[in-house]
């Protein structure tokens, strides 16, 4: 048991270190990793959306999936499975992405931003925790998206294969893709360094079962804080790294790629927390599970990419504050977050066990 706990702490610490390193190497500030932002950037690079400032094939996503895939194969844990309400998961994934892009970060980036002193992420953490708490109430009462089933090997390797294909294409034929010339999409660590770091992180995350949602969820449901240690380890290492490198800035304003639209930071991450509990894991965990062969998580990732494309094609995403403007979540984005919350409520209620006939 202690061995399992230490694996999570070590994994969390190394993820934190990787995040600090990736920012030092060129990723946007307080964004060493962001599953939401990076899937959104890949969507843009593939012309699924036209937001010019967020288009880049992030090798971190490729590395996380392939790192998990390789570790799962090595440990004999690769299992092709799926069939657990995939269409529902697709839409849940899309709304989780919409919630995350309202806040301008996935749960992992939320922890990284906290480590940078960004108090907007504290507001988000409150919303995230509330969302998880609500989701847990449904789980305790029997919520289920039904079981998955063993499937053919090809089904389980779809996302690893697509990531490998994307890697080959971006290296061999980069002209196929869009690359931002300004904005967050133009800031990136050297491609192969980021890929290598992400491969290691993906492998560690698979081995340790690291999950930002699981930490809080399991604490509430079972009094089990194993995964939360990983969450805290990431925060602690990022905090120390930022203090050492002089990038710690405590406060709400002047934070990189962030805004202080508090209500919508809270509600956006409430949607992420609740949706992620129903899905069985945060966006990072979905990438890792997809690498292990879980095609339900693959479908969830497809949903997240689609949600990212919608967010930028329809002006739903949060706008970062700048010297000229406070930024925040546009009206369309607020409506989308509310629709998302209504959707997760409906899914929660409609997937409860039926009472036995009298």
């Amino acid at each position: 048991m202690k061995k399992v706990n230490w694996i999570v702490v070590i994994a969390g610490a190394l993820v934190g270190l990787a995040a600090v390193l990736l920012t030092a190497l060129g990723n946007p500030a307080n964004m060493g990793f962001c599953i939401a932002c990076f899937l959104r950037d890949i969507a843009g690079a593939c012309s699924l959306h036209g937001a010019a400032k967020v288009q880049y094939v992030r090798p971190e996503i490729i590395g996380l999936v392939l790192g998990s895939f390789i570790m799962a194969l090595i440990k004999g844990e690769f299992r092709a499975k799926g069939g657990s309400s995939p269409a529902t998961r697709f839409v849940l994934g899309a709304f989780v992405m919409i919630g995350a892009l309202a806040f301008l970060g996935c749960p992992l980036r939320m922890v990284i931003r906290l480590g940078g002193g960004d108090l907007n992420a504290l507001v988000a953490l409150i919303g995230f925790t509330i969302g998880i708490f609500i989701g847990v109430q449904f789980m305790k009462r029997g919520f289920s998206l039904r079981r998955n089933y063993t499937l053919g090997v090809t089904e389980g390797t779809i996302l690893p294969a697509l990531m490998l294909g994307l890697l080959i294409l971006v290296v061999a034929v980069p002209s196929l893709f869009k690359f931002s010339e300004a904005g967050p999409g133009s800031k990136f660590a050297p491609f192969f360094a980021a890929l290598g770091i992400a491969l290691v992180v993906g492998a560690l995350a698979q081995r340790s079962r690291l999950c930002m949602v699981g930490g809080i969820r399991d604490g509430i449901m079972f009094g089990d804080f194993k995964l939360l240690y990983g969450f805290v380890a990431i925060f602690a290492v990022v905090l120390v790294g930022n203090i050492i490198t002089g990038h710690f800035n405590l406060g709400f304003s002047g934070q990189p790629v962030a805004h202080s639209d508090h209500v919508w930071n809270l509600l956006g991450m409430l949607l992420v927390g609740w949706g992620s509990v129903l899905l069985g894991g945060c966006p990072l965990r979905q990438l890792i599970l997809a690498g292990e062969g879980n095609s339900d998580s693959t479908v969830t990732v497809f949903g997240m990419i689609t949600g990212a494309a919608f967010a930028h094609n329809f002006g739903l995403a949060g706008v970062a504050a700048s010297a000229d403007a406070a930024g925040g979540v546009p009206t369309a984005g607020r409506i989308a977050v509310v629709i998302g919350i209504v959707f997760v409520l409906a899914i929660s209620l409609l997937n409860m066990p039926k009472k036995a006939d009298a």
């Binding site: 998955n148 063993t150 079972f222």
Partner: protein, 67 residues
Amino acid sequence: MIDARGLVCPMPVAMVQKEVKANAPKEVEVMVDDQCAVENITRYATNAGYAVSVDKEGTDYRLTLKK
């Protein structure tokens, strides 16, 4: 016997927790098909005072929890 095969976390542990809280059984068997579920149930059950043994059956795992 609790059949938690095909369910992703935290469902398998939630099912075991429900049984333990409702009936406080001296012994319970759980079937899962996921190594992550084996680890999570082992941790939960050990903390709840059960001794846990795990047998691999093909691609599935049978956990026996005994007090």
